[in-house]
């Protein structure tokens, strides 16, 4: 009952303590690493101190009630806050070895590697289906027809839209239904071959059937691109994501990361009581 017995015990206790304090490492290699990331608008903190590893080729869900900063956090990852003069991003965001805010990569080049799909389908209204899909390539200087055609077919096929639009590629994008338009927007992002695809509540304006198809699509796409999806629908997070981060608005009204874990762990055995309260519907 002396040293040999107590030592491993202490170690296990230590191990458990660390596991509780830190979020467990995500499965696989991280494609994006966030260190103490914060966002402030005109001096008011909206998101504070987020440290999170986003696993590669997986679907990571950002969940939390309204005002918890999910979308704000998402938009730091492709520097969309650059458009807002009053926005200030602190901390460090790494895409692989690239420091996103470090100045070694331009925002435009970054965004060609970190694409985004929005709440409402937003195909370019003046463009045909085909022109929409290849628009990102053209914006980046691609002109060769073979390359554009190939990219269009590949992206539309990946977005499960090719078969229904291949005979009407010159038709207006507005001819498509809402769900089809959203898949067109996904195809448009995929055509640029980004490493990461950000999705900001991509099904919030769609009916259940279209939502189901987008969800199926999301899980299929992860072999091609790492996905970070914002959703306030917990069932959706469970259905589509492998890894899950729970955000919550703190007392200072700034969103913060409560915990991140593999989705099954987060929903079956959360480490934080607030996570448990949220997934049991006790608030939010």
């Amino acid at each position: 009952m002396t040293k040999p017995m107590t030592e491993p015990l202490t170690e296990r206790q230590l191990g458990m303590a660390t596991e509780k304090a830190l979020t467990p490492p995500p499965p696989g290699n991280p494609v994006m690493r966030l260190r103490d990331v914060g966002v402030a608008f005109a001096g008011r903190t909206a998101v504070r101190g987020v440290t999170l590893d986003v696993p590669e080729h997986q679907v990571t869900a950002l969940i939390g009630p309204s005002g918890s900063g999910k979308t704000t956090l998402l938009r730091t990852l492709n520097r969309l806050h650059d458009l807002t003069r009053t926005a200030q991003v602190s901390g460090q965001v790494m895409l692989g070895d690239i420091d996103v805010y470090g100045g070694s990569i331009s925002p435009t080049l970054l965004r060609s590697q970190v694409g985004m799909v929005f709440q409402r389908p937003n195909p370019f209204p003046t463009m045909s289906i085909y022109d929409n899909v290849v628009s990102g390539l053209r914006f980046n200087g691609a002109r060769r027809k073979a390359l554009l055609d190939e990219a269009a077919e590949s992206a539309l096929t990946a977005a499960v839209l090719w078969d229904s639009v291949k005979h009407r590629l010159k038709a207006h994008a507005s001819m498509l239904s809402g769900g089809e338009q959203q898949r067109l927007c996904i195809a448009r992002s995929l055509a640029v071959e980004p490493r990461v695809l950000l999705m900001d509540e991509p099904t919030s304006s769609l009916d259940p059937q279209a939502t189901k198809r987008i969800e199926e699509l999301v899980t299929e796409l992860k072999t091609r691109v790492s996905i970070i999806i914002v959703t306030h629908n917990m069932q959706q997070a469970v259905r589509v994501s492998d890894y899950c981060a729970f955000l919550l608005m703190g007392d200072d009204r700034a969103g913060q990361l409560i915990e991140a874990a593999p989705t099954t762990k987060l929903f079956e055995d959360p480490s934080d009581e607030r996570t448990l309260d949220y997934i049991n519907g006790r608030f939010g």
């Binding site: 003069r85 937003n122 628009s135 980046n140």
Partner: protein, 300 residues
């Protein structure tokens, strides 16, 4: 075994509310009728000057219209067969040149105002508003001092400059409005594909705003084509066919002004005919701009 429905505890209250609602509906119908009649009367009063000016101009002007009227050059008073061909061409050249300069500047300025939120943008917006309120004769005098006196002679180009200055604020504000109405999510979508801001502006924002931009341009041209005062100081008018913008040139509003104040009935008739033609041109431009505005509404 059927259970009787429980007596509705709110029945009395519901019936009273229904009764009140029916009463107030009758009262509202009367109010509505009275208000509608008042509106109708005021509308009729407001329409009197418009309709009488139009009717009078049509009645006087239509008599001047003939194929020769549009195809011939003016003749001296008393000699029949004169026309306004040189003034039509002159107005096309003067307003065309004015638009050719004002449209690109105006649209780019509108894009700047729509895309930036700084103090400079506020100053420019204010300046454009002030400029649109400046009486056109003052802009005419400005063009006279700056160009006519500077170059030593009257010229259509100086007229184009003055008209262009008048068109500018209209185009700027209409472009700003049209560009602002393009949903910002389209800009974000473009940027998220790795496009530069200038690319997004050129390939996404401006094409989407195009119907609104055309509306603004047509409105500005409709305003410019009827302006007389600035041309009095610059293009001055001409009896001859002129297509060289460095020389004096005839223009439709100048014909109305200059022939209309003559004592000769045939010249006065020419003025009426030209006035009617001007009204028709402005009408076509305004209707055209509305059609484009409606198209912009459909895009979204």
């Amino acid at each position: 075994m059927t259970t009787l429905p429980a007596p509705d505890p709110n029945l009395a209250r519901r019936e009273e509310i229904q009764r009140l609602a029916a009463g107030s509906e009758n009262r509202r119908k009367i109010y509505s009728g009275v208000a509608m009649s008042i509106c109708g009367v005021f509308l009729a009063v407001a329409l009197v000057p418009l309709v009488s000016v139009l009717a009078y101009t049509v009645q006087r002007g239509i008599r001047a219209w003939s194929a020769a009227f549009f195809a011939h050059l003016p003749t001296p008073a008393g000699i029949p067969g004169g026309g306004i061909w040189n003034a039509i061409v002159g107005s096309l050249i003067i307003d065309g040149l004015a638009a050719a300069v004002a449209v690109p500047f105006g649209i780019v300025a509108g894009l700047y105002l729509a895309e930036s939120e700084g103090r400079v943008a506020g100053v420019i917006r204010f300046a454009a508003d002030v400029l649109s309120g400046v009486p056109s004769i003052i802009i005419g005098i400005f063009a006279y001092i700056a160009l006519v006196r500077g170059l030593g002679h009257f010229s259509a180009a100086a007229g184009s400059f003055a008209i262009g200055v008048l068109m500018l604020p209209i185009i700027i504000r209409a472009s700003e409005t049209a560009i602002r109405s393009v949903p910002s999510t389209l800009t974000e979508a473009g940027l998220s594909l790795g496009a530069r801001r200038s690319t997004v502006a050129r390939r996404v924002i401006l094409p989407t705003a195009l119907p609104g931009l055309i509306t603004g341009v047509l409105l500005a041209v409709a305003r410019g084509v009827g302006e007389t005062a600035p041309l009095l100081f610059t293009a001055i008018g001409s009896q001859y066919f002129a297509s060289n913008p460095t020389q004096p040139m005839a223009a439709l509003p100048l014909v109305v002004f200059q022939d209309g104040i003559q004592a000769y009935p045939d010249l006065q008739m020419t003025a009426w005919g030209t006035a009617l033609f001007l009204i028709a041109v402005v009408l076509v431009l305004s209707v055209g701009s509305r059609l484009f505005a409606a198209r912009l509404g459909r895009v979204r």
